[in-house]
């Protein structure tokens, strides 16, 4: 089965099957509400694919993906808010939450976001550029391992705190109540379905990009850097550049996911991008299998689904389950669900060599 998926025909079959499920079966079988939930989960899965690349393949445990997710989300939300305001009050009108906060003038840094093209460009470029800058600063100086993880986590904390302090970005409450998405009414079920299709399309393309990266020479180099950075350096490669690329791609994925997330869910606030949400992105990736391609997607979807299904009825039990899942999966099954087959095959000999014990 696995060997078949490695071939070209196998890849196409896999994508065709995924497309059939996402674009054919899911909209047929699920109600509008559930489809909306699935669309939201797909956004988490997009983030997970990026984490799989940076952490699973590159060995960089990034605990701050909420920062890039939040950047994309806030950039998109700023466009939606200005567009709504313009629709009500003409060019230069102030979004509703600013009126409540007593801000009469549109802040200068908001103005460009009335342009859809500028917004989309910003969503693609800004977080990626930030990740490149930060990555260069960190990896060139060979800050790695736990140091990098802690820095990325501190970044998420600082970013959330920074946003809470910005009244012109909605402060603690964040940005919400969007009416239009590039001219389409968000309340219309047909447009909600369109958003689901966008999310599904984004997920498939992100997986395709990740697959291409994995199979390229770059992908080999990335794994080599993860497993023996010194050796790669002695061979004449700049390991820092290799890492920066994976980190930036993961940031880009997270940003796009955030941008799609906002119109689907209708709110973005500092509470959903801080330290704890950022580390929760990791859980799905760990469960699914950090080093595999599809594992993070499946894991993220499963965790998001379980969260929705269980957290309202059994909030206490769900938190215990989350904690125990972290402990059990990482300690006993570091390769995640994706590695169950190979672990089982090796079972009689008791050799627990794990692919990604980075």
């Amino acid at each position: 089965m696995n060997r078949f998926l490695q071939t070209r025909a196998g890849t196409w079959t896999g994508f065709a099957a995924a497309a059939l499920v996402l674009f054919g079966l899911a909209p047929l079988l699920l109600s509008g509400f559930r489809l909306g939930l699935l669309a939201q989960f797909l956004c988490y899965a997009v983030v997970a694919v990026g984490i799989g690349l940076a952490w699973g393949r590159g060995g960089m445990l990034t605990l701050g993906q909420g920062v890039f997710f939040g950047m994309g989300a806030y950039l998109m939300a700023m466009h939606l808010k200005t567009a709504d305001a313009e629709f009500r009050g003409g060019p230069g009108a102030v979004p509703d939450f600013m009126e409540l906060a007593g801000i009469r003038e549109l802040p200068a840094y908001w103005a460009p976001f009335s342009s859809p093209a500028f917004t989309i460009a910003a969503i693609l470029v800004l977080p990626t550029a930030f990740a490149v800058l930060l990555g260069l600063a960190v990896f060139k100086r060979r800050v790695k391992g736990a140091y990098f993880a802690i820095l990325s986590q501190a970044l998420a904390g600082a970013f959330a705190i920074l946003l809470i302090g910005q009244q012109s970005l909605g402060g603690f409450n964040g940005l919400s109540r969007f009416r239009y998405f590039f001219g389409f009414t968000l309340a219309d079920p047909v447009n909600q379905r369109m958003l689901y299709f966008i999310a599904a399309g984004v997920l498939l393309s992100v997986v395709a990009v990740a697959l291409q990266l994995r199979r390229s020479r770059y992908g080999e180099l990335l794994v080599a850097v993860r497993d023996a950075e010194e050796r790669v350096r002695f061979l004449g490669y700049d390991a820092a550049n290799v890492k920066v690329v994976a980190y930036a791609v993961a940031a880009l994925f997270a940003s796009v996911a955030g941008a799609v997330f906002v119109p689907i869910v209708g709110i973005i606030s500092p509470a959903s991008i801080g330290i704890v949400p950022s580390i929760m992105f990791i859980l799905g990736v760990a469960i699914g299998g950090r080093a595999s391609l599809v594992g993070p997607v499946v894991g993220a979807l499963a965790v998001a689904w379980a969260q929705t299904a269980l957290s309202e009825q059994f909030p206490s039990a769900w938190t215990y389950a989350q904690g125990l899942l972290f402990v059990l999966v990482i300690a006993l099954l570091p390769g995640g669900i994706a590695s169950i087959a190979s672990v089982a095959r090796r079972f009689p000999t008791k050799r627990t060599q794990v692919e990604a014990a980075a």
């Binding site: 445990l61 600082a158 705190i161 330290i275 206490s316």
Partner: protein, 294 residues
């Protein structure tokens, strides 16, 4: 001038809180490379220890004195259990210990929420520590002075134990070079357990002290943890000296930033300073000289 002195004192006080939280981390992170995200929950356990002891004893002053050693034991015991059950099996996977201990932290937080309830609880401050003291033209709350003194005491105690006792010598040997220490006949497993006990115990003490300046809720520990880790990273692995300097510097930095901007910008400012600082010294302030490549 007064402003500067005031800021320095605020910085010292913030720094000593950071130091209390980071001291134990620095020990365990430095020696074992274990990133213990549950350290924050050990601090929280110390806070609740102080709360419970006060419920039992009643008198604020006596209960504080009793709670400090009990907090140490509670934190240390939790650390021992964590080390024996989980971390011992994961020493060669430092990033994985981070995630595992985060999971443990989640469980402990929820346990605290189920036992003590989600709303914050308060521990009353002993009579002797109420009010402030006039110092160099500014008023410093006595609780802050107490915490500073406790931080100094804790650092001195740890430094003395490491420097002069046989156990401390073994800890230093294992931190310096694990393999070589083992060839010299030191049981690194037992040393690891001892280090973890001391490090986690210090978290418990920090927790007891923190009840003097703030209320206790299940997420109390988490709020100190990231800053404590930054102290360890900036100070250099396993160096008490580094942790002290970094904690005071970060405390002062935060105080200065907060005077000239908002508290939220101060956090961002501190983060930027640390990233820039790591450009200059990627291994932190003070580094252990080793010949390992990694």
């Amino acid at each position: 001038m007064d402003l500067l002195v005031g800021q320095l004192l605020t910085g010292l006080s913030t720094g000593s809180i950071l130091l209390l939280a980071a001291l134990g981390l620095s020990l365990t992170f430095g020696q074992m490379g274990v990133v213990n995200m549950a350290h924050g929950e050990f601090i929280m356990a110390g806070c609740y220890t102080a709360y419970v002891v006060q419920q039992v004893v009643g008198d604020a002053g006596v209960s504080l004195l009793i709670a400090l050693p009990i907090g140490f034991l509670v934190g240390g015991a939790m650390g021992l259990v964590l080390e024996a059950l989980l971390l011992r099996r994961l020493y060669h996977r430092p990033l994985d210990t981070l995630l595992v201990t985060f999971g443990v932290g989640l469980v402990l937080q929820q346990a605290a929420r189920d036992v003590f309830g989600a709303p914050a609880v308060n521990v009353s401050v002993p009579e002797a520590l109420r009010g402030g003291v006039d110092l160099l033209g500014t008023t410093v709350p006595r609780t802050r002075l107490f915490i500073m003194a406790l931080a100094v005491l804790a650092v001195t105690a740890v430094a003395l134990v490491l420097r002069f006792t046989p156990a401390g010598r073994r800890i230093r040997a294992v931190t310096g070079n694990r393999d070589l220490a083992e060839t010299a006949g030191i049981s690194s497993r037992r040393v690891d357990a001892a280090t973890f006990f001391i490090g986690s115990g210090l978290a418990g003490v920090a927790g007891v002290a923190l009840t003097l300046i703030g209320s206790t809720s299940p997420t109390t520990g988490q709020s100190y943890l990231v800053d404590a880790f930054l102290v360890v990273v900036a100070g250099g692995l396993g160096r008490i000296k580094g942790a002290v300097v970094a904690a005071v510097a970060l405390g002062a930095l935060q105080a200065v930033f907060e005077t000239y901007s908002t508290a939220s910008l101060a956090k961002v400012g501190v983060f930027v300073v640390i990233v820039v600082f790591l450009q200059l010294r990627p291994q932190g302030l003070f580094t252990l000289r080793t010949r390992s490549l990694a």
